[in-house]
Symmetry: C2
Subunit: 272 residues, 2 copies
């Protein structure tokens, strides 16, 4: 069958083969949160965190999943995650970018659903809304060994985990497919979305300014460095870090005091 005939074919429209289907968007809302600390003069350590909601319907009843919903027939695809976030969380003017479209046949047990995932980056401390009862922030931690990633999610009372394998594709060494190895707590294929987003963020932090969407308006360079460190999963050297972000931030007249050590100058993001 060549294209021409496939076009003809489509014109006739075999509704068995090319049945219409449902499309949803799932939104990976990522933020960075502080952890309270006993020593007053220690700066709180940060964690990446993700917003999950608890399902109260089948399938995956009482499992956690990413916020998401069906796209309306008269709605541009990028408007869909905006609407869903607004309805669920009162969030607006949020940084959103399309992540990936997942469309395995059996990803939803009810019916054929293809889902385009989006990643949202926010500073969770700036939120001016109340989460719905079913929604909760989970701290993310993970470890990787031999292309197998174990992810732990913790919201203070519930601890979830899943394991995903990165399977290298044949044709080049730098492309892999994610595969769920173990998952007892996250609905659908959302573990894949979470990992895809983390990887994306990890890459983009070094060649874009996306981090500043996760920062408050004023921040110290120490705080900013912590966010980099949490996302990259490694410690950075102060002088090197300051050189790299030097032209992305600008000094303000304010300082952060009261922490039992030298006050830090507050900076803000400087657009180029």
């Amino acid at each position: 069958m060549i294209y021409k005939t496939e076009e003809e074919f489509l014109k006739a429209y075999d509704s068995n083969k090319y049945e219409k289907l449902s499309l949803t968007t799932d939104i990976l809302v990522l933020s960075v949160s502080d952890e309270e600390v006993n020593n007053y003069r220690k700066t709180p350590t940060k964690h990446m965190s993700v917003l999950l909601v608890k399902r109260n319907d089948y399938p995956y009843k009482s499992k956690w999943c990413l916020p998401g919903g069906f796209i309306a027939i008269d709605e541009d695809i990028e408007d869909c995650p905006i609407r869903i976030l607004r309805n669920e969380t009162n969030l607006h003017d949020i940084y959103l970018e399309q992540l990936y479209t997942f469309g395995d046949v059996n990803r939803d047990p009810r019916m054929r659903v293809i889902s385009t995932s989006y990643m949202a980056l926010i500073d969770k401390n700036r939120l001016d809304y109340k989460l719905s009862n079913s929604a909760s922030w989970f701290n993310i931690s993970y470890e990787e060994r031999d292309n197998v990633v174990t992810v732990y999610l913790d919201n203070g009372s519930t601890r979830l985990s899943f394991i995903v394998k990165k399977v290298l594709k044949e044709l080049t060494t730098d492309r892999y497919r994610l595969e769920i190895v173990e998952n007892d707590s996250i609905a659908f294929d959302h573990p894949l979305v979470i990992l895809t987003g983390i990887e994306r963020l990890k890459n983009k932090i070094s060649y874009t300014d996306v981090v500043f969407n996760m920062m408050p308006e004023y921040f110290t360079l120490g705080e900013l460095q912590q966010v980099y460190e949490v996302i990259l999963g490694k410690k950075l050297l102060d002088p090197a870090f300051r050189r790299i972000i030097a032209d992305k931030v600008e000094k303000t007249e304010f300082v952060r005091t009261g922490a039992g050590h030298r006050p830090a100058i507050l900076f803000k993001y400087k657009k180029k």
Copy 2:
């Protein structure tokens, strides 16, 4: 409306609002091609090229577009571009990666269609198939000024062009939305797919090994450098280039002779 109720809402399923829709994949097949040259000792200059097919049905009858087609109800999304390429071109074992999902309400005048685009990279000289009558390779050239990109496509007999604007998004300076400014020859929103793919390839060439999908098994470093130059749109310095690719290639015992100048050693891709 909060999530919980939206879930309830979906259960009841308002088919007016969340009507099912059609999903297609469009495939941006990119390659690099030589241009014949009059001087026997000059190496042919290379061009990026894209595979387009001519539509012979409404809408956009007799316009050119990317190969593509509807996803089947029982087909994983990544299998769809594979099937379409095989059916159309006999191509198999091709490097494919998902590009972006386009879903503006009016992107197809017939009905609501959302399209997930894929990028395929091949060495066009290695193809062992005959293109269908409607398909043709177009050389790509483009120029950018003030975030406005003019793209020219030329298959030897037909010259097409379109203009796309990169509109910066508000929240960070490093995200933009593509918008068609002028387009009289390419069907649907395919100009956006083409540009998205070119940008993606331009980025990935420097931090991945994807280029080698566009190379023959044996190649000279001069040829490889040309491909880099064509994709990046700028000249590279020989010693710097050779340093960078040194650990990605390995020398073979073969040389390319007969071109009126010093023979070049043939290399092949070395996976890490």
